[in-house]
């Protein structure tokens, strides 16, 4: 889901950079208000986890590849705004050092994977888990479904961004200037792959870590009560 340089026109790139600036500011403000010093290592682990889980490319046989992002897990442990910062840092390092995702598309990629994904996933998790016990299976299921739904909606955003390009930018003869595939191809391709294969990786990774933490460190699964203390 890492949109490279050249697939989005300058207008789209600009809009998403402009959109992310206030979101990053809000995230910094929110984290400043709630994050405790002793939670900082966990936030670093979250960012590093997101980075490394994205390296696990999963194939659709004979087709494309994709991967999980881990953003919903970070959101469950530290809140969606902290996840926004953690995943943004991972995405910026991927773009700068490894050329994974374009420099011009950092705004769009952060919007999809560091904003939409953790927020949609986190609130799906909250909705399903309700006030169930921290150690309940319902919480494990809610975490997995949160990951799955979050990744699918992020893929829908990326597909829409790709798909708008031929409408926005083309030559007089009709050749595309940037991404050549319209909404009818880009959206089903992005959403389909993530519903069919990659979403399940996000589901499993999120659910398994939550299941492990239920036993090992249940306090980590109660960020709000912690923050309220």
């Amino acid at each position: 889901m890492h949109i490279p340089d050249g697939y989005l026109g300058p207008a789209t790139c600009g809009v998403f950079y402009a959109g992310m600036v206030p979101l990053w500011a809000r995230a910094a403000q929110q984290v400043k208000r709630t994050l405790k010093a002793k939670q900082v290592p966990l936030m670093a682990i979250g960012a590093a986890f997101s980075f490394v889980i994205m390296m696990f490319n999963v194939p659709i046989p004979g087709g494309t590849t994709g991967h999980a992002v881990g953003a919903v897990l970070v959101a469950i442990l530290l809140g969606p705004w902290a996840a926004c910062i953690a995943v943004s840092v991972a995405l910026v390092i991927q773009a700068l050092l490894f050329g994974d995702g374009g420099i011009s598309a950092i705004g769009a990629n952060c919007f999809n994977m560091a904003f939409v994904l953790p927020f949609v996933g986190y609130y799906t998790y909250k909705l399903i888990s309700g006030n169930s016990a921290i150690a309940s299976f319902r919480r494990v299921a809610a975490a997995g479904i949160g990951g799955y739904v979050g990744l699918a909606v992020a893929a829908l955003c990326a597909g829409t961004e790709f798909g708008l390009q031929p409408l926005l930018h083309h030559t007089a003869s009709g050749q595309a200037l940037y991404c050549p595939y319209g909404l009818k191809i880009a959206v089903p391709a992005m959403v389909g792959g993530h519903l069919l294969v990659f979403g399940w990786v996000e589901l499993l990774a999120t659910a398994l870590v939550v299941k492990y933490l239920q036993k090992a460190e249940p306090a980590l699964l109660q960020p709000e009560t912690e923050a309220a203390q």
Partner: protein, 111 residues
């Protein structure tokens, strides 16, 4: 051992296992991620390279493009796996550094 320490170890295990993310796509003959094709692949797919894409695609020169050392693109999966693990460890180290710094700036003190 604290849970946080165990999570760090878990990250190390993931870094060492990361070449799975190279082997699986290779084994199942899967290509690039959708919308992440290079110019050559694009030409094969749609018959031309969109002009703006061609211009912008070389906007940035990454230090380790595609998690590989420069010039290693044509080497076998073994070499690429080594570079992949090095990339994973490097990425984890740099991101941890950045996050600890950000955390220091943002987090509430003394709690």
């Amino acid at each position: 051992m604290t849970t946080v320490k165990k999570l760090w170890i878990g990250l190390g295990v993931l870094a060492i296992a990361s070449p799975i993310g190279l082997y699986l796509p290779d084994k199942f003959k899967a290509g690039a991620a959708w919308g992440e094709w290079g110019a050559d692949e694009m030409k094969e797919l749609v018959g031309y390279v969109p002009a703006g894409l061609e211009k912008l695609s070389s906007l940035w020169n990454a230090v380790m493009p595609d998690y590989a050392f420069k010039g290693w693109e044509e080497k076998g999966l073994g070499h690429l796996s080594l570079a992949y693990v090095v990339s994973a460890l490097m990425g984890i180290a740099i991101i941890t550094g950045v996050m600890l710094l950000l955390g220091k700036l943002l987090a509430r003190k003394g709690s």
